[in-house]
Amino acid sequence: MLSKEEVQHIAGLARIGVDEKDLEKFATDLSAVLDWIEELKEVDVSGVEPTAHITGMQNRLREDKMSEFENKAEIINLFPDKKDNFGKVKSIL
């Protein structure tokens, strides 16, 4: 069972603010899923290669070429806060 502190730590890593009152519910739910997936420990996977891409496709390379995106103004419009064409964020220092 995950502790409330562990949930708080995970939430912090995931950059999700969690209310104190919700920590317990998340601890219960996450622990239930973690217990459930424990089942995989019984599988013998020695010598088995992991599968990342299911149809076996390998790296597909393309030319590193710039192309023009037409709707730049619409992207800028989506900034939650902006000055001219710059997105504004809070200070990081």
Binding site: R15, W36, L40, P50, H53, I54, T55, E74, F79
Partner: protein, 492 residues
């Protein structure tokens, strides 16, 4: 007025070219129907009437000028709200994207638009496609048109409900663990998840990138084949899209299954009970009657599909949803002073933007999955969870490779039970996750799968839809659609 709800793509196409109806009239009729009944169903999140009428007028001009039109041209359909349409609000049913107006088109949207399709609007779904009932939408659940007390399934519940209720001729959904097939089964329509890579995922709001696939929800298998023919094909914007050209899948709908070998999974048969078992046995019997050879097969590792899924999916979710942080687009939370994390570095300002935008913008289910993935990928746990899951994934894939040496298709029920009532499975996440037990394996191994309405089952004195699922070999949508279609026409 036409009873638009009864029509399939080809019939409507014929009415358009014989000038019995115009595309504008047809589109108006669908909007009238949406207006009349969608306040009860809530299948749509956004309507795009202006765009639809513009698209319809263009087709009508072509018809008037005597230009030949394609099968999907002028036919109105719906797009799941996690697929980007330029200039249209695209929320993925999340508050964090409440004000997001897509600045570009998904490749499937471009292809449909080029083929002349008409877009009625964007359909409701579980937030970020995470759920099996559409109860997890931030904009209220969609109701099942067959029984308003029941869920339409999910996550593509709005798409399935729109087609089943005659609010759209066709719809697009996305399927990561059953999100096209399960709602199709619940609403009594057809849902197709193509082979991983068959359809470009560019412009789909990603959930779990190694599992996601876009596909059609339609009234018939033929309609699904028509839509797949339009949306499939290699795309330079999606490096995982398969290097095979689009083809006309309707050519393979011969009505013939004799000679096809269809496998039924011994383990699954043993799990079935009651009416669903009877419904499924009737489907097996029908295929036998039609001349298919039914063979019992085993998929010994398939039972691990759900736990494998609940490691791989949350890991990919935690990575894909990191972009929703209130910085470049979407909701940026107002500042809140109650953040209590004590390990934060000194730069609390930007961190607080992240924490609060995600706290208030993202719902409980995506939060659970993001945290689960973050935990499983964190230092020291990677080997035990993600890497092990990917290895078990290999074993499940090998089971399928072996099974497909003996059979051409695998037949299962789509869901363990028909549509459930609202609230029935929301308290316990794992109960909801078990909904996907038959569908999830196709995503784990990447094969194409389709849900087709089978014999209905009786619950509380009411006949409810129950789908069956066919899974095909990788990139063999031909035999998959052929067998699904043969059943459909034999049972009409």
């Amino acid at each position: 007025m036409l009873h638009v709800s009864c029509f399939m793509i080809k019939e409507l196409h014929n009415k358009l070219i014989s000038k019995e109806i115009t595309s504008v009239q047809l589109t108006e009729e669908y909007f009238a129907r949406i207006k009349e009944q969608d306040k009860n169903l809530n299948a749509y999140l956004t309507l795009t009437k202006e765009l639809a009428l513009k698209q319809a007028r263009k087709v009508d001009e072509k018809i008037a000028a005597g230009v030949e039109i394609g099968m999907i041209e002028g036919i109105p359909g719906a797009i799941k709200d996690n697929l980007c349409v330029t200039g249209v609000r695209t929320t993925a049913a999340s508050k964090i994207l409440d004000n997001y107006i897509a600045p570009f088109d998904a490749t499937v949207v471009i292809k449909l638009e080029e083929a002349g399709a008409v877009f009625l609007g964007k359909t409701n779904m579980d937030e970020f496609a995470m759920g099996s009932s559409t109860e997890k939408s931030a904009y209220g659940s969609t109701k099942n048109p067959v029984d308003l007390e029941r869920v339409p399934g999910g996550s593509s519940g709005g798409s399935a409900a729109s087609v089943a209720s005659g609010e759209a001729v066709w719809a697009l959904g996305t399927d990561t663990g059953g999100s096209i097939r399960q709602p199709a089964s619940f609403c009594g329509v057809v849902g197709l998840k193509p082979t991983y890579g068959r359809v470009s995922r560019y412009g789909a709001i990603a959930m779990a990138s190694s599992l996601d696939q876009i596909g059609p929800i339609t009234k018939t298998v033929e309609d699904a084949a028509i839509i797949l023919s339009v949306i499939s094909g290699e795309d330079k914007m999606d490096a995982t899209s398969a290097q095979s050209p689009a083809k006309d899948y309707t050519k393979y709908l011969t009505g013939e299954v004799s000679g096809l070998k269809i496998g039924v999974v011994k383990d699954y048969l043993e799990k079935l009970t009651g009416e669903v078992k009877i419904s499924f046995e009737k489907v097996v019997e029908k295929y036998r009657e039609l001349g298919a050879e039914i063979k019992e097969i085993e998929l010994p590792n398939a039972k691990y599909s759900l736990p494998v899924y609940y490691i791989i999916m949350p890991c990919e979710v935690s990575s894909n949803l990191a972009r929703f942080d209130g910085v470049k687009f979407g909701m940026r939370a107002e500042d809140h002073e109650d953040t209590q994390l004590d390990f934060l570095p000194e730069d609390r300002n930007l961190i607080e933007t992240y924490l609060d935008s995600r706290r208030y913008g993202i719902g409980a289910e995506p939060k659970r999955r993001i945290m689960l993935g973050t935990y499983a990928l964190s230092s020291g746990y990677y080997d035990a969870y993600y890497l092990r899951a990917q290895k078990v994934r290999t074993l499940i894939k090998q089971d399928f490779e072996k099974a497909f040496e003996a059979v051409d298709l695998i037949l299962t029920p789509t869901t363990p039970s028909p549509a459930f009532k609202f609230g029935e499975k929301t308290a316990d996440p794992i109960q909801m996750y078990l909904e996907d037990i038959f569908t999830i394996t196709a995503n784990i191994v990447g094969v194409p799968a389709i849900s087709v309405p089978g014999p209905t089952v009786e619950v509380d004195g009411k006949q409810l839809p129950q789908g069956f699922q066919l899974m095909g070999k990788w990139f063999d949508e031909e035999n998959l659609l052929r067998a699904a279609h043969a059943y459909e026409i034999a049972t009409k």
